[in-house]
Amino acid sequence: MTKRESSAEATESKLREEPSELLRELVAHLRQNRTQLREEWVARISETRLLTAMTKEEIFAEATSVYDSYVEALETETFEALQAYARNLSERIIPRGVETHEVVGIVLLLRDVLARSLFAKYQTDFKKLNRILDAYEPAANRIANTVAVGFVQERERVIRQQQEAIRELSTPVLQVRERLLILPIIGVIDPQRARQLTEQLLRGIRTNRAKVVVIDITGVAAMDATVANHLVQTVEASRLLGANVIVTGLSPEIAQTLVTIGIDLGKMNTVGDLQGGIEQAERLLGYKVMALGEAEPN
């Protein structure tokens, strides 16, 4: 009885020890066959036409460092270094147009190549192969996961950064003459951007002491009723600050929207294009622009 118990305990502890031992064996195998496996992997990558944005040499260089970090992550079972490497790699390859499916694809390819080599090595000992795979698969899956998540996070960070930049660039309030501001709006206006535009314009009116503002929406293809309403409110708020607003470049679709929501056109001063808007603004401000030849000699 006691004998059996102790022997069971012994096998159990042996089993518990085994995964790390197996991993060590696995890592040794991967180190030994580094050159061959790496080349096989690179061949598979070009075969499946992944990473077309990069040259062969670059792929080989990256593959080497990915392979080494991969083996290291397997050996140490810590993923921080790999995570940092994945982030760094993503930072380098995202600007070159590498897609998520490619990154996930190459990591999965590496996983497959290595698994194949294990099959080949242990094909005579099925039990051992099973145990090796038990140790290998969770670690490999975790590595694939880490790399994919790192890539996606980096991508999201880039997207957030670009959104921020677009938001900052998207609302210039420009002074073209004393007391005359131009607000060119380009692209899609969502409620948040509309709000920001209004704030910037009202602040601009105050700081530049503007009397006339030309809002040019030639670059806006369409707007929904909420944003159209917001535009009208902006016009009225500007009037409360003592500035005249001229809206130019309304597209037929926007005109349709404004009519549908029943805008009181008496409140809106609209001119066909930006040039006409500026000319009218100059008239309101009392400027008279003429070519030099036209000026009457004194």
Binding site: L202, I205, R206, T234, S238, R239, L241
Partner: protein
Amino acid sequence: MEVPILKQGDVLIATFQAALSDADLSQLRSGLVQQVVRFRSRGVIVDVTAMDVMDSFASRTLREIAHMIRLRGAETVIVGIQPEVAFAMVQLGLTLEGVATALDLEEGLNYLNQKFKRMK
């Protein structure tokens, strides 16, 4: 708190100091309407720079002041509405229709002077 009304040439100037009660606003309205005739003023400027909140009563009173003073033969300009206040007012539908507005006191005086010149 009563709003002081200053006389500057042809123009009466009333400057809001801070948030006013409804009673103060009503008092300002009757004060202005009386004095505009007593001083034979041709213009009135109401400066609301110090107001960071404009409720419906205040904006209605401002509109009433402007319309009553027009009936008494003078022009009114509301000056110094803050950007945030302006947008809040518009969202509440308080747009001061038919009332002249200007950026600040200086602009308001310019506006009135131009108007007077045209009348001459």
